[in-house]
Amino acid sequence: MSTDTSHISSVRTLVAVFLALMVFTALTTAVAYVDLGAGSTAIALAIAFTKASLVVWFFMNVRFNTKLIPVVILGGLFFLLVLFVETFADYGSRGWFGNGR
């Protein structure tokens, strides 16, 4: 694989990704000053996830790795999601029972 350069990112790709990240940074900062109610957080998170995906896919070269790596990443995120969903299931439903508290 030493002579095979197809698994090496070109400078153009890397710089383009960097510029995209800059644009998204500007966007998330600008949009934060607009009152969109609960949508503000959703948009901020959506932009952050997009930026993170760009870094993972291009800078971290996951596009050149075996399929196992995306599985590992998504698996890790799944268990983080479990922590969020199940714990919020507790906090979100605490007042429902109405046993006088």
């Binding site: 196992l68 698996g75 890790g76 268990f79 479990v82 922590l83 199940e86 714990t87 299931a89 507790d90 906090y91 979100g92 439903s93 605490r94 429902w96 029972f97």
Partner: protein, 549 residues
Amino acid sequence: MNDSKSATTDPPGYAPVNYLNETWGLKSWLLTLDHKRIGILYLISVSFYFALGGLMAALIRIELATPQGDLVSPDWYNRLFTMHGVMMIFFFLIPAVPGVLGNFLLPLMIGAKDVAFPKVNLASWYLYNIGALFSLWALLHGGVDTGWTFYTPLSTSYSTTHVIAVGLGIFINGFSSILAGVNFMVTIHRMRAPGQGWFRLPLFVWGIYATSLIQVLGTPVLAITILLLAAERLFHIGVFDPRYGGDPVLFQHFFWFYSHPAVYIMILPAMGVISEIVAACARKRIFGYKFVAFASVAIATLGFLVWAHHMFVSGMSVYAGAVFSILTMFVAVPSAVKVFNWTATLYKGSVVWETPMLYALGFIGVFVIGGLTGTMLATMGLDAHIHDTYFLVAHFHYVMVGSAVMGFLGGIHFWWPKITGRLYPRFASKFAAIVVFVGFNVTFFPQFILGYLGMPRRYHTYPPEFQTLNVMSSAGATILGVGYLIPMLYLLWSLKFGPKASANPWGAVGLEWETTSPPPVANFAKSPVVTTEAYDYAARAAREVPVGG
């Protein structure tokens, strides 16, 4: 070996020069990168912490022989059970099977020369010991009295003991656990011998893989929880402190997110050991190999979804409780599947009741009781009563001591000839296995009854009507203690005086039995290639002459 009376002739496959004696000196051990030697280092460490935790258990049982708190003062009793829990869980059970047997066997079983990252492997052992030393330091300076669960706000605002030192010890040990998990997972993914697909792996490897998964995914949450706990104690950051709007129940969620899967870290590799022993001692492929393999992964995965069944009466929402309760019922199923498959493996087998098999069958019996009482605790209506009573204490000792420790001892007895190249006395070892089984049940079965009667855990004094059962339990603990001492004696004896072992004393199938006893530094004279399924006894019948036949 049967045809010759000459004591100077070594049995076939015994290697006079091997990984144990190719190099000499303390440095060759402390700086070793050989997974087999690191396994032995773990064996020495975990034995020490097991003895220490056992000593504290003995003091606890002596104290509880009478209803009055007359042996130690309440605060010392609290430190005893806390340090017993910390030592046994974090510094014995979690590293025991993966650290000792996993390290020694994993590369051998997959035909590799070593684990993927040998330096990281050695670092894991050092981190583990550094972590343990922090806890040991705390122990010598008065210990900690919060219970191994460190519930807030007791641990953050009220306890005056060494919470942070012990927390730091567990934090550092967590690094060891994570690195070991990463190492084993990569090893299993990338280092298997040619021809060894996933479904040709021994079930012990599946068990270690599932364990590693939990170590990698769960331990970091405990790590951040301990950091937040320490910060709360030092700076009052308010996250767990109700005075600032924090929530102590959040700590319980975080803590159990790791600590519930952690019980599977302790039991899954032991289950792997049982699969190996049952297959070898019945000379038969494990019935439903794929079910048993997937059950390990299912337990590891589902095990992450059920943590708050420790919290049904904690003030958590009852609806969330119901979700956790039903998910817990799901995780009980793969455990049951394993038990049924092990039992079915005996059918039409060629069963010997050798020492490892006694431990394995004892494991199955005890694990069934531990598992079924676990489903009782997962039943919310019952948990409301038996929560945090001796019923719970009995349940987790059935799983953690009865099952995990028996699995560990069974594994040690099974692979001892491979690890040391020596055989241990047959009668003494069978006798000890029976003593352990009897002592264990006499110790912990009465605790189920005590728990349903309502005796709370962590009480150093109790109403007099509970005394009879407590005395029984303490008497059983004495038997159990003897049961643990006997193997320690004869195993040490065998190192010098035991007969030399052949390469495959059990006539078992598996790559680890194809190399010499003990193995050479490079594990195999020639890198193995796998051409058969796991446990393929039919294809290789009568290739080896079993010892002691």
